[in-house]
């Protein structure tokens, strides 16, 4: 559920990209600078089901409900950041 105080303004593509990179790095137990945001998450071993766990954290972070297939349709951090910003813009209209 969208909450009014979720701080929409702060969610830029760059901000989300940085957050996602940290999140993925934590899951993979690697430094954030070892993550290439244009590489498919599955190439890092984050398979289709596991990647849904990232979706759960994203929901927490953004305080919205996401369709988990967003993770499947946008398989890189770059694509996902763009899609999320679009999604957030829609949710908060």
């Amino acid at each position: 559920m969208p909450l009014p105080d979720s701080g929409v303004e702060t969610h830029t593509v760059d901000g989300l990209r940085a957050w996602l990179t940290d999140c993925v790095a934590t899951h993979l137990d690697r430094p954030a600078d070892a993550i290439d945001t244009s590489v498919r998450l599955s190439d890092y071993g984050l398979d289709s089901l596991y990647v849904l766990a990232v979706a759960a954290e994203l929901e927490d972070h953004l305080d919205i409900s996401l369709d988990p297939t967003l993770m499947w349709d946008n398989p890189t951090i770059d694509a996902l950041s763009e899609a999320l910003v679009a999604e957030l813009a829609q949710t908060h209209v």
Binding site: D47, L52, A53, D67, P68, W72, P75
Partner: protein
């Protein structure tokens, strides 16, 4: 077509009457006939034909596509009834729903209408996901569909260990449509064998199996089989998503089938312990045997609570089915497997006798039921699915967030169900599990109306659930490395879910001062399995359940619904055994 408006209960009653009437000597649902078919590994064609004539197939087709499926709990209750009589028949006949469900979820309305027509006219539909080297891992499949140069698709590869692959005229096939695979790399096709040129497909030999021996468990191989464009179900790349959602429904159906087998096991054991004499005291009156029977009765009621809430949740908590169906499929078949194994001990040597002996039914039931915990996603695969959702479940539980209206409908057995909407299915539940998150609220209500001992039991369930969520919150894992202890937590989660289901059902049906026996039985059983200390006086309720079990007329079944104050006379739903 104006279908007669029959309430679900009366259709189920009619089916129960039909099954009973076909259970006499020499008839297709008699134990002897079914045992003989099993021994000969022969398909129960006659029994299936009677179910066709009854119109059971119409309940596999949603009303909007020309069938009679409106209320999922009705069709699942019917499958439970058939399963009581014979799991081979239930798995073989019910398979058509599994084969069709992807089209109901993702197919074009016109394709769904055509499929509905084929099904009601008698066509069997199979669903082929598994391959020789790949089962649970859907993304490993090698069967491939390539775009054909002149339109349509060319399908190649082999699906194996598939129920009804040979007998079915239509097969839903999951095939790789992007070389790299991945969650968007697979698509579903409805393959019509009658439209394939000779030589482009071949059915594989029947595979001998441990149980359900008469079923058509085989496979199918495709050799550049040309499929028309409209064979595609939904969009290219939508296959895995559709199947995962379809499994939310079919796994719930598997739980219903499992409960049918549990009903029969309990009935056979009760009748055996009343009839057999050890010395002069009937077995059922010996304290140990009585306790075992009571334990089994409590275990089945607890599983029944999960099954009942799960099938109502299909309508009422649709978006939570990723959790609910995983609990139902992991918990119910495991619980029934365990009940059957323990009752088998009670029967002693008689549990091991084969066809020909009146007690041979029990051994057949044990063999037949074992498959339910394996196909359509094993207990482990479902526990794995639960573990993947731990973070969301913990979050919703801690926030005390649940869908109040949905929960009231899912756990109010007499509340009319809203229409099912397949577009509300979700790969992951956004709301966690309302059944569990709403537990504290239900416990508070129990406190107001229940006896002190019952209220105390419910408080302990709530404590155990709270502690469990703290442990669940600690689980962290790298991709594909779910730690072993998380599976224990998943099992405990199932028990908390089951106890919560029973509690909600009781709160919504029992006036203050009403019967508490069945609920106390469920909670005592759940707490024992959770490792909570349950004292002797609390365990006495199991003996009450055993006495109720052995005192009912031979050949009758009593499900949890019968305890929940039906609108009519309490025993009106008791079916006569086949």
């Amino acid at each position: 077509m104006t279908a007669p408006t029959t309430t679900p209960d009366t259709v189920t009653n009619r089916l129960d009457l039909l099954l009973a009437s076909l259970g006499g000597p020499g008839l297709p649902f008699s134990a002897e006939t079914l045992a003989e078919l099993d021994r000969a590994e022969t398909f129960p064609a006659e029994a299936c034909a009677f179910l066709d004539a009854f119109g059971l197939r119409r309940y596999y087709v949603p009303v909007e596509h020309g069938g009679a499926l409106g209320d999922f709990s009705a069709v699942m209750t019917m499958l439970r009834s058939v399963s009581r009589a014979d799991l081979t028949v239930a798995a073989s006949h019910g398979k058509t729903y599994l084969g069709a469900v992807s089209t109901w979820i993702a197919g074009e309305p016109e394709a769904a209408r055509r499929l509905g027509e084929r099904i009601t006219h008698g066509e069997t539909v199979s669903c082929a996901l598994t391959e020789r080297d790949h089962g649970s891992d859907l993304l490993a499949g090698e069967v491939t569909a390539r775009l054909a140069p002149d339109g349509g698709w060319l399908l190649s590869g082999e699906k194996w260990l598939i129920n009804s692959a040979t007998r079915a005229g239509l097969v839903t096939v999951l095939a790789r449509t992007a070389e790299a695979g991945g969650p968007r790399g697979f698509s579903l096709f409805l393959v019509d064998k009658s439209r394939l040129p000779a030589g482009t497909f071949s059915c594989l030999p029947k595979v001998p199996t441990y149980g359900i021996r008469g079923a058509d468990i085989s496979g199918i191989a495709f050799h550049d089989a040309p499929l028309p464009e409209d064979a595609l179900i939904g969009a290219v790349g939508q296959g895995v998503e559709t199947i995962v959602k379809a499994l939310h429904l079919t796994r719930t159906g598997c739980a219903a089938m499992s409960l049918g087998a549990g009903d029969q096991a309990l009935r056979l054991a009760a009748e055996f312990t009343q009839g057999a004499q050890a010395g002069t005291i009937p077995l059922a009156r010996r304290p140990y045997i009585r306790r075992e029977l009571g334990d089994a009765a409590a275990g089945l009621l607890l599983a029944d609570a999960v099954g009942l809430v799960a099938m109502r949740s299909v309508h009422a908590l649709t978006g939570e089915m990723s959790v609910v169906s995983a609990v139902a499929k992991a918990f119910v078949p495991s619980a029934v497997d365990e009940i059957v194994a323990r009752l088998l001990q009670l029967l002693g040597p008689y549990g091991l006798l084969g066809a020909g002996d009146p007690h041979g039914r029990f051994a057949k039931l044990e063999r037949d039921h074992r498959i339910i915990g394996i196909f359509d996603g094993s207990s482990l695969v479902n526990r794995n699915a639960l573990i993947e959702q731990f973070p969301r479940l913990v979050r919703a539980y801690r926030k005390g967030r649940w869908d109040e209206a949905g929960l009231a409908e899912a756990t109010g057995p007499h509340v009319p169900l809203r229409p099912f909407r397949s577009d509300a299915l979700s790969l992951l539940s956004g709301d966690g599990a309302s059944v569990v998150a709403g537990l504290a609220d239900a416990v508070a209500q129990v406190r107001a109306i229940a006896s002190a001992p019952l209220a105390a039991l419910t408080e302990r369930v709530l404590d155990a659930t709270g502690r469990l969520h703290e442990e669940m919150a600690q689980v962290r894992f790298a991709p594909r490395a779910v730690p072993a202890h998380a599976f224990d937590l998943a099992e405990r989660y199932e028990l908390c879910f089951a106890a919560a289901s029973a509690l909600h059902l009781w709160v919504r049906t029992s006036p203050a001062g009403g019967d508490e026996t069945w609920l106390r039985g469920c909670l005592v059983k759940a707490l024992t399995e959770l490792g909570d200390k349950v004292d002797d006086t609390e365990l006495d309720v199991l003996d009450d359940l055993a006495d109720a079990l052995v005192s009912r007329p031979p050949g009758t079944f009593r499900t949890l619904l019968d305890h929940l104050g039906q609108a009519g006379p309490a025993d009106s739903r008791e079916a006569t055994a086949s």
